[in-house]
């Protein structure tokens, strides 16, 4: 199916890639269907993707795996809050966090407090608020990411 997107123009999306968010996401409760899109111009899958709404082409939230910026990320969530996603296993669970990118890129932040949890088998997702009090809504990670990349290149 052809969908209009915020960053990639019109995209031909395989219908099996649609992820259904029964409750929508906070602030966009009416947008319930999404696809994860990324720029694969260079062949490699980049670390940053977009949670693109199918109902609202202008709605696309940049997302990353939290483990890139917080390797020990281990949120606590009541099982019951994830019940609607079906059985989650290490093989089918996808966890993503939204990224806020201000004009000053050094103030880039990720929302560790409210990750998106997706069951890749059933293509169902939801946004949950985790119980961990030390996980911030605005987790600034620019310096840390830079340092990690520098470390990798130095190897």
């Amino acid at each position: 199916m052809l969908i209009k997107t915020r960053h990639f123009g019109e995209v031909d999306l395989d219908e099996e890639k649609i992820i259904h968010f029964e409750q929508g996401i906070l602030g966009f409760e009416d947008c319930k269907n999404y696809a994860i899109l990324y720029d694969n111009e260079d062949g490699d899958r980049p670390e940053i993707s977009w949670l693109q709404s199918l109902e609202e082409p202008a709605l696309a939230i940049p997302v990353i795996s939290p483990f890139i910026i917080k390797p020990d990320y281990n949120p606590t969530v009541e099982d019951e809050l994830l019940q609607s996603l079906g059985e989650l296993t290490p093989d089918n669970i996808i966890v993503l966090v939204s990224v806020t990118v201000p004009n000053d890129i050094t103030r880039i932040s990720a929302n560790l407090k409210a990750p998106f949890v997706i069951n890749a088998d059933l293509r169902k997702g939801c946004q949950v608020i985790v119980e961990n009090t030390d996980y911030e809504i605005k987790y600034y990670f620019y310096q840390q990411l830079k340092a990690a990349k520098a470390g990798k290149e130095g190897k």
């Binding site: 996401i25 940053i48 929302n111 409210a114 946004q127 608020i129 605005k138 990411l145």
Partner: protein, 73 residues
């Protein structure tokens, strides 16, 4: 908005399975107990609003794709 007056240890039922109890009143603070199925998320409203705001902010940013790509390379 429905307003009900309650005393300490009195409750309000919302539907069949959500019970809100006034536990303590001290000055301008009220301690409230909430008994609800675990499948019903309960948050302080500030947190809820902050996350709603964060989602909107993440979605509305005018992003220079190249700068972002470079950062996450």
């Amino acid at each position: 908005m429905l307003a009900l007056t309650r005393k300490i240890n009195e409750s309000i039922m919302i539907g069949n399975n959500i019970e809100i109890t006034i536990l303590e009143i001290r000055g301008d603070q009220v301690k409230i107990g909430i008994n609800a199925p675990k499948s019903i998320p309960v948050y302080r409203k500030e947190i809820y609003l902050q996350i709603l705001e964060s989602n909107k902010e993440a979605a509305s940013a005018e992003i220079n794709g190249d700068v972002l790509k470079e950062l996450f390379k």
